[in-house]
Amino acid sequence: MTVERGYAFDSGFCPQQFTRALARRVTVADTPLQITGREDKAEEKITVVGVIVNAAKGAVADVQDYALLCGRTLYAIFTPPYYLQDILQQMDNIGAGSLPIILLSGFFIGAVMVLQTGSQFTRFGQSSLTGDVVAIALVRELGPSLTGLLVTGRCATGIASELGSMLVTEQVDAMRAMGTDPIRKLVAPRAIATLLTLPLLTAMTDFMGLIGGCVASVFSLQLTAVEFWRRAIDALVFSDLMQGFTKPMFFAFILATIGCYKGLTVRGGTQGVGRATTQAAVLSSVMIIVADAFLTKVALYLADKLF
């Protein structure tokens, strides 16, 4: 088995994975009743090395197609025409729809953070430092990554399954046949909506986290609410906020593009849609965590230099 690449499959817009996904439904197996005189395919030897090499080639092809999709999405985000209606609808789905889980989770994360760190600080008689630590941890790290992971779990799966179902019912083809660019109509609105709403959701998480922390510290650390808030707010500096609100933008782009990529490269009918949905959730969660590590390093370096 060879992974064929070549300009022929890339119709200038449709990466090979898309066209392969579209065409795969066309081929059919020979049956004994079908007397077509087709040649038998030669039996190929399967070796371990062969399997690994093919898997590697497939992975490289995937990365290439994903990069192509990201490039075209960025181009579609910064150039007209825009589908404003679709953008607003996606902002409603992704932003407003994720709000309940964000608020709830944020509150309890803040409470847990206070309980865990507070118990350590109390040993040294410095329980009032809890406010500082929790605020910094929330705004710099926990807020962005937790929001990213929660929204990924909810939205990347939804995006992948929606686009995958559209692909297997030929709706994406129908869109192209009628002269609409699926990247502009399907992918870009979701990317723009996520880019705009994820920082806002992160802000909500941070805020609810501080409230939860405040409640926890009042009831279990015997701090006053005023003390907690004052120390929490005073501990934050501008670079923390910069870090805490640019990370979500990267996470948003990762989330949207991986969800759309998995959805648009579905193969194998409804089973494929299920597989793509799972892979979208797993892959985007992992990529968010990996990106978080790199972004944190870059942000801390920049904070040193610039702020």
Binding site: G12, C14, L22, T27, T169, A174, A177, M178, G179
Partner: protein, 277 residues
């Protein structure tokens, strides 16, 4: 009403020239060449997997061949960028096998899709949508969702959606697949009316020979507004006003037979006879 400019017969609307396309499993089309004249209907026949749907997608520019050229309406598709192709597809109507309606939009929005994309004014959209739904006799479904329609009705809506811009070329992918005989007749009658009233050039992929024969043997009489048996397909005088219907049989990725209805019906070839059973 669409009036196709009457150009010379030597200016085919669709030309496939030694087209080859294949994927990981091998070539599916291996050097296919044919021409479709304007106002003509070409019926593509063949077993499953012989590349009928692929040929339609190639003609619409949705896929690119690995070899060979495709000319549609005088433009060569393989040398066009996707943006030009998107523009070009406005002149093509494509009817997908399962209808491929957008299931989150109403029937009216589905049919109006292309007009909405072109940002036509709202008050102009509605009468055009109703007119084309009237043509497929589904005016009353304009506010329903596709999931509330039967299979045949969905097919007809998808034909209406392809027609909204009055394209000169319509590509049908198994329009009667999976439908009962009565509904199939309704669809074929629609295709007949499109051919004879609007003069569209059509490429129709199907596995059912009776659909092709129905198209060849019947015509829509605008005077009586009924489908009548056509006297003869080859008669020059009667056939002058009538669009021709030709057949193309694909086998193993190559053109196995190309010709008119009488040739196909009277063939002595064993393989073709199996089709006629």
């Amino acid at each position: 009403m669409l009036s196709v400019p009457s150009s010379s017969e030597h200016n085919p609307a669709i030309t496939f020239d030694n087209v080859r396309i294949g994927f990981d499993e091998g070539d599916i089309l291996r050097g296919v060449s044919f021409e479709v004249q304007e106002r003509e209907t070409l019926v593509l026949l063949g077993e499953t997997g012989t590349g009928k749907t692929l040929s339609l997608k190639l003609a619409a520019g949705l896929l690119q061949p690995t070899q060979g050229t495709i000319r549609v309406l005088g433009q060569e598709l393989s040398s066009m960028k996707e943006r030009e192709l998107l523009e070009f597809r406005r002149h093509i109507g494509f009817v997908f096998q399962e209808g491929a309606l957008f299931d989150s939009m109403t029937v009216g929005d589905n049919v109006a899709y292309r007009l909405l994309e072109d940002r036509v004014k709202d008050d102009e959209i509605e009468p055009r949508v109703l007119e084309v739904l009237r043509f497929v006799e589904l005016e009353h479904t304009v506010d329903l969702l596709p999931s509330e329609l039967s299979g045949g009705m969905r097919r007809r809506v998808s034909i209406a959606r392809a027609l909204i811009n009055q394209p000169p070329i319509v590509l049908y992918d198994s329009p009667t697949a999976g439908l009962d005989p009565v509904t199939s007749q309704t669809i074929i009658t629609l295709i007949l009316r499109l051919r004879d009233v609007y003069g569209v050039t059509a490429l129709l992929a199907t596995q059912r020979l009776q659909d092709g024969f129905a198209l060849a043997n019947f015509r829509f009489d605008p005077a009586t507004k009924r489908v009548v048996h056509s006297v003869s397909n080859g008669n020059a005088a009667a056939g002058a006003k009538m669009a021709a219907t030709r057949f193309l049989v694909l086998r193993e990725g190559e053109v196995y037979f190309e010709g008119g209805q009488e040739e196909l019906a009277g063939t002595k070839d064993d393989y073709l006879k199996r089709f006629l059973v």
